[in-house]
């Protein structure tokens, strides 16, 4: 997020929530948005194919067809330009590439956009007017925007929108992606990505490579590594031999489960460091017991780039060990046994004695974390990265006065229909996501009794019209099939989903929607297209 949650909650006069079921997936932020509407009468526009909870609080619900986000936003920007509502001074001072961008927007007149998105023209005008004339306005989105083959384009389109209206770098504005898991932000920040060292230093840029070579005392590869969605095929065809997995469950969370099973099965060796024997453990050769959040010290970085402490409350269960210690033990042993030996260098050694020690190395090598220390955090300082040094107070709002790259660059983005659309054989559209009572692959929440009591089995949302057509009545079991797999589940007949669409989650192994999803990737971010694929639905007799 460019802007913190409390800033949006307190200062946004208008809010566009697109592709985020906030009250179920980021529940506490969802309550803040509800209260902004209830108490401050902020205007809320929800763009979502589903009638999600937030729509009850919305001034306007744009029920767009799935996968048409770019067309919608470009269409709104067409209207904004047509009416002359853009922030001309901001565009002139702070941005570049406006003309090319504008030429592209001219391909999105309201009639055509209405046709593509299924949203009536009047609603397009209404939405454009609210967002353009109510300042400041913020945009929030989540996986609904990124989990498409055009995910990166979607994100750029949101940024275009906010630059056009001068809503970047101001309180109550910004582009605000809501990060899914508790520390997905931190995992990215810490170099858990194939293209970046910690703090987004490109691995294929020589100065960065030199810097880390000098720090770690080894020569480093200049090529970008494989993403998880590339590792799986590499495992299947024998290029990837060994895999070290920390606390992830690709069998549940990755698209096209059957393909993943095959890939993991082909590996020579897999070590899994986990707290539960997850579905992925079936394919592991070594299983190392790590610890849960309650048993560890450290930091998480939330969706607003705020670094916060995790404090150990209980001793590790059984013989489980601290995860950082396990990694350190393996590292020491691999160095000792293998042929790759680091030379003497400031951070070559593996002799961390505590998480605070690791944070000190992070301070030295990751510029945006340079000034973050346990001492400051424990003192109650509010630290959003970048925190440039021990004196710097952090950066709650990004791009104030100036963009990180200098001028904000408008990008021309193009609506591309989803890779797999309904056809005669698979006439319905499947979209996937989470529900309030469960989390991700469900490893934790399926082992929480009360949560299971409220939501104990996977439900597939089905529109009443479709239910009638399929004859779903007393018997609610349906079979949902795609070109890749089949699941059977109970239908929840509800007008939350529009006719022609079903919605399923991936919390339950027996009914994992990822049996059905497609491994089509966004070419830049390599995010699978979870939100859309074609399925057929039938009643289980």
């Amino acid at each position: 997020m460019t802007n913190p949650m409390d800033d949006v909650a307190a200062h946004s006069q208008a809010m566009l929530v697109i592709g985020s079921n906030t009250t179920e997936q980021h529940p506490v932020f969802g309550t803040m948005l509800r209260q902004a509407v209830l108490k401050r009468h902020a205007k809320l526009i929800v763009a979502d194919p589903r009638k999600i909870d937030l729509t009850e609080f919305a001034t306007l619900h744009l029920r767009l067809k799935p996968g048409t986000d770019i067309a919608l936003l470009n269409g709104l920007m067409y209207i904004i330009l047509e009416k002359g509502w853009e922030d001309k001074a901001y565009i002139a001072e702070r941005t570049e590439n406006f003309d090319e961008f504008k030429a592209n927007i001219m391909n999105y007149p309201p009639d055509a956009v209405s046709e593509t998105t299924g949203i009536p023209v009047e609603q397009l005008y209404e939405a454009a007017e609210i967002l353009a004339t109510t300042k400041p306005a913020s945009i929030m989105w989540a996986m609904g925007i990124t989990q498409h083959t055009v995910g990166v384009q979607n994100v750029m389109t949101c940024a275009n929108f906010q630059m056009l209206l001068g809503n970047m770098g101001v309180p109550g504005g910004g582009v605000n992606p809501l990060r899914g898991q508790n520390n997905v932000q931190g995992a990215c920040d810490m170099g858990g990505l194939p293209n970046f060292y910690p703090a987004y230093q490109w691995v294929n840029q020589e100065p960065n490579q030199k810097k880390f070579e000098a720090a770690w005392g080894v020569s480093l590869p200049a090529n970008i590594g494989m993403t998880v969605t590339e590792m799986m095929p590499a495992a299947a065809n024998g290029k990837l031999k060994a895999l070290y997995i920390l606390g992830e469950n690709p069998i549940m969370s990755d698209p096209d489960t059957n393909h993943i099973r095959h890939a993991l099965d082909t590996l020579d060796f897999m070590v899994l460091q986990e707290i539960f024997p997850s579905e992925t453990a079936e394919y592991a050769d070594v299983l190392l017991p790590g610890v849960s959040f309650a048993e560890k010290e450290g930091t998480f970085t939330n969706t607003e780039r705020r670094v916060q402490r995790v404090h150990q409350a209980i001793q590790p269960i059984g013989n489980a060990r601290q995860d950082w210690e396990i990694t350190q033990e393996i590292a020491r042993r691999v160095i000792e046994l293998g042929s790759r030996k680091p030379s003497d260098a400031p951070h070559a050694a593996w002799n961390f004695t505590s998480p605070a020690d690791i944070m000190a190395e992070i301070n030295a090598l990751a510029p945006s974390y340079a000034g973050i220390s346990y001492e400051r955090l424990d003192r109650g300082e509010r630290l959003h990265w970048p925190v440039k040094d021990a004196e710097h107070g952090g950066t709650p709002i990004l791009h104030v006065g100036k963009f990180a790259r200098g001028l904000g660059k408008f990008a021309a983005t193009v609506h591309v229909p989803p890779v797999e659309m309904p056809d005669n054989d698979y006439p319905m559209l499947l979209s996937t996501g989470r529900v309030l009572y469960h989390w991700h692959g469900g490893e934790m929440t399926r082992r929480a009794e009360g949560l299971m009591e409220v939501y104990g089995q996977s439900l597939v949302e089905l529109n009443p019209d479709d239910a009638r057509r399929l004859g779903v009545n007393g018997n609610k079991r349906v079979r949902v099939a795609s070109r890749r797999g089949v699941i059977e589940a109970e239908a929840w007949v509800t007008d939350r989903v529009p006719p022609g669409m079903v919605y399923a989650n991936f919390h339950f192994p027996e009914v994992n929607a990822n049996q059905l999803t497609i491994a089509a990737l966004d070419p830049i971010a390599k995010i699978p297209e979870y939100k859309i694929c074609a399925v057929k639905v039938e009643l289980v007799k």
């Binding site: 997905v184 480093l220 020579d268 539960f276």
Partner: protein, 361 residues
């Protein structure tokens, strides 16, 4: 600034600030029950009454703005007598079966009763009027016998959570709080966030998972393991077990707010399926080739054996097939520090950039 006095002491208030808030800022305690700083003022319980010179009767300090020159007295004999009466009345409709005795939770009613010398054993009801644990919600324990009709739950649900589950049913002595039109909480669209529990002053609403669990030996403030909002809360620990999660009002992101997963999704930590010992496949210990298909039985080993085996396999793959034959998946659930060492492991130790996690998923 508004200048006035409380018990003869000069006090300042912002324009519009209530007597109660100004008093609190000045470090003067006025008893309250239905008031909570996060919620809109209700003015229902009348515990907070004070005498104001020139006013006709006592005023509720939680709803009365301080005005210039006001002279406030918080503990006059008449006020104290009035409060004792309120406490006696509340106690006469208050019955506690004792399910949550000694759980360390502060009971505001009993606190003030004791403070004003209103005897619990003398005045408290001896019989229940409602069934204990009357709602099937798996997280929220409802015991209307302990309800004092302060309406904090009603306001918490509406003003914190943005749900409208609770309402007051007004029937004189039989007035009570109901979910929806007298349905179950979940039927009244409860999201099980536990805000109503957190704001309840008596434990009429309590944490069902923790009934009888006793008081915490320590409370440790930490950050939630579920979503990216990053709520903080206190893990209440007893005997190396998490017995409950409580809101920590100074949590920077969320204050008292939590969602159902953060507040009630902690029991996985102690689940019997937790991995507690390192395990390796039998074929590895026997130095055999990996069987096709099923990888064979697990054998429990000591840490050294498991770590050495792992290191040998990774080093061998690296040295034989090159660094890019080894991949690393780090975790969006783990800490920054843990992710940093995974990144260092992939790049420095193995020499590959093939490290990723499920950010995209």
């Amino acid at each position: 600034m508004v200048n006035f006095t409380i018990n003869g002491q000069p006090v300042q208030a912002h324009p519009g600030q209530t007597i109660l808030e100004a008093a609190q800022e000045a470090g003067i305690t006025i008893p309250t029950l239905c008031y909570h700083k996060d919620l809109s003022p209700h003015g229902g319980c009348r515990m907070c009454i004070v005498e104001v010179a020139g006013a006709r009767g006592p005023l509720t300090s939680c709803t009365t703005p301080a005005t210039e020159g006001m002279q406030v007295v918080t503990e006059s004999p008449a006020v104290i007598e009035h409060r004792r009466m309120i406490l006696k009345l509340l106690l006469s409709a208050y019955y506690d079966r004792g399910d949550n005795k000694d759980d360390g939770r502060e009971n505001e009613l009993l606190h003030w009763a004791e403070f004003y010398g209103v005897s619990y054993s003398e005045f408290a009801a001896k019989e229940p009027r409602y069934p204990v644990n009357s709602d099937p919600n798996p997280f929220v324990w409802v015991d209307m016998n302990k309800c004092i009709l302060c309406s904090r739950c009603v306001r918490a649900c509406a003003e914190v959570q943005g749900r409208f589950v609770w309402g007051l049913e007004n029937r004189g002595f039989d007035s009570h709080v109901v979910a929806g039109s007298g349905v179950t909480m979940l039927e009244a669209r409860c999201e099980s966030c536990g805000a109503c529990v957190a704001y309840c002053p008596t434990g009429a609403l309590d944490n069902k998972m923790s009934v009888g669990a006793g008081a915490a030996e320590k409370k440790v403030t930490t950050t939630c393991t579920y979503c990216g909002v990053g709520c903080q809360f206190d893990l209440n620990v007893r005997d190396n077990h998490i017995v409950r999660v409580t809101s920590n009002p100074s949590a920077p992101v969320n204050g008292m707010r939590l969602c159902v997963k953060g507040r009630y999704g902690y029991d996985f930590v102690h689940h019997e399926e937790r991995l507690t010992e390192p395990l390796v496949r039998e074929y590895l210990l026997q130095g055999k080739e990996r069987p096709h298909g099923d990888r064979g039985p697990w054998v429990q080993v000591d840490w050294d054996t498991a770590l050495n085996l792992t290191a040998r396999k990774i080093a061998a793959a690296r040295d034989t097939f090159g660094a890019d034959s080894v991949g690393v998946l780090t975790s969006a659930k783990c800490t920054n520090e843990e992710n940093y060492v995974m990144n260092k492991f992939a790049r420095q130790v193995v020499g590959t950039n093939s490290i990723d996690h499920c950010a995209r998923l």
